[in-house]
């Protein structure tokens, strides 16, 4: 069964029809999606500022403690609103190659976030001391670029017509 067939089937379910017919729901979901993007990207940015030593040097673990919860809360909101948007407009997303690329990039970004947290838990000292700092700072740039790429892919979904 192809993605297009799945999307076709999904678009005819009562849930999908209900989401599409509630005129206010999709704009509301998109607003939540934007607010959640703000939570995620700003949390990543604030942690990156600390990694790049552009803010006062509190322990890395403290910075993570302040912002990682917001990152995850944002991701949960993105998942919830995103899932509802997919169910409401399955043909716009599921068979769309740009959407699929976006999901792949998202998986990588989430993996990077988990890796960061694990690394902190195992040995937070390596984040605070000078050795290996260049690598951490490059990784920080890389993940920020990754999140921006996800935003670019998201906008491009609308411009690729499928099926």
């Amino acid at each position: 069964m192809s993605m297009l067939e799945v999307a076709q089937w999904l678009s005819q379910t009562p849930v999908s029809v209900a989401i599409q017919s509630a005129l206010w729901l999709i704009p509301l979901l998109q607003t939540i999606h934007i607010l959640a993007i703000a939570m995620v990207i700003s949390s990543v940015f604030m942690i990156d500022l600390r990694i790049w030593r552009m803010v006062s040097l509190e322990p890395m673990a403290d910075t993570a403690h302040r912002f990682v919860p917001w990152l995850w809360a944002g991701l949960i909101l993105l998942a919830g609103s995103g899932l509802t948007l997919i169910v409401g407009e399955p043909k716009r997303s599921l068979p769309n190659p740009v959407f699929q690329i976006k999901m792949l990039l998202l998986l990588v970004a989430i993996a990077a976030t988990c890796a960061f947290q694990l690394s902190l838990r195992r040995n937070s000292a390596i984040w605070d001391d000078a050795a290996g700092r260049r690598l951490m700072q490059l990784l920080a740039v890389g993940t920020l670029v990754l999140w921006c790429a996800i935003a670019v892919a998201s906008r491009w979904i609308a411009y690729i017509k499928v099926g």
Partner: protein
């Protein structure tokens, strides 16, 4: 005699605006920059406002936190205005007459006013808002207003997208 309408039509008909409209990628690129920039504005404003409200980052002294974060807010805001401005000129007349757009601009002005009042008067007590210390009630009010206004700005920004006729 020149009116606002003439100026808007002139902007919309300019070669520059037309080139953006005719390009396949320019407008989506501007929208993407706009979303990323506004996300950073909202997020960094949130960090500072939550400190004012005493709900987060309480262990950081206010002035230090504001000094570190707000420059980035301004940089992100410049990108928002630039990308927003370039989108605006492509349909200047329609945007100007769009209710959601007008509401958003009004809210932006109010957010600016709130910030100006805070920076000119309320922040004089900021030395007291040190590590673990609460800000004054006026500061908390400014923080709460700021947060509410910016969320509303995002909401009406999205509304513009839904109420404009596609080019």
């Amino acid at each position: 005699m020149h009116s606002i309408g003439d100026l808007l039509r002139w902007l919309e008909d300019s070669a520059f605006a037309v080139s953006i409209t005719q390009s396949d990628w320019a407008f989506p690129a501007l929208e993407t920059v706009h979303v990323l920039a506004l996300s950073l504005v909202l997020g960094t404003v949130c960090v500072v406002d939550l400190r004012l409200l005493g709900w987060a980052s309480r262990q950081r002294p206010y002035r230090e936190l504001a000094r570190e974060v707000l420059p980035w807010t301004w940089i992100a805001f410049c990108f928002s205005v630039a990308s927003g401005g370039l989108m605006f000129i492509t349909q200047a007349v329609e945007y100007y007459e769009n209710v959601a757009f007008r509401l958003k601009m009004t809210l932006l002005l109010l957010a600016g006013l709130n910030m100006a009042i805070f920076e000119l008067f309320t922040v004089r007590d900021a030395a007291k808002w040190g590590q673990g210390m609460s800000a004054s009630w006026r500061a908390k009010l400014a923080g709460a207003l700021s947060l509410s206004l910016w969320v509303a700005i995002v909401f009406f920004g999205r509304r513009i997208g839904f109420t404009m006729m596609p080019e």
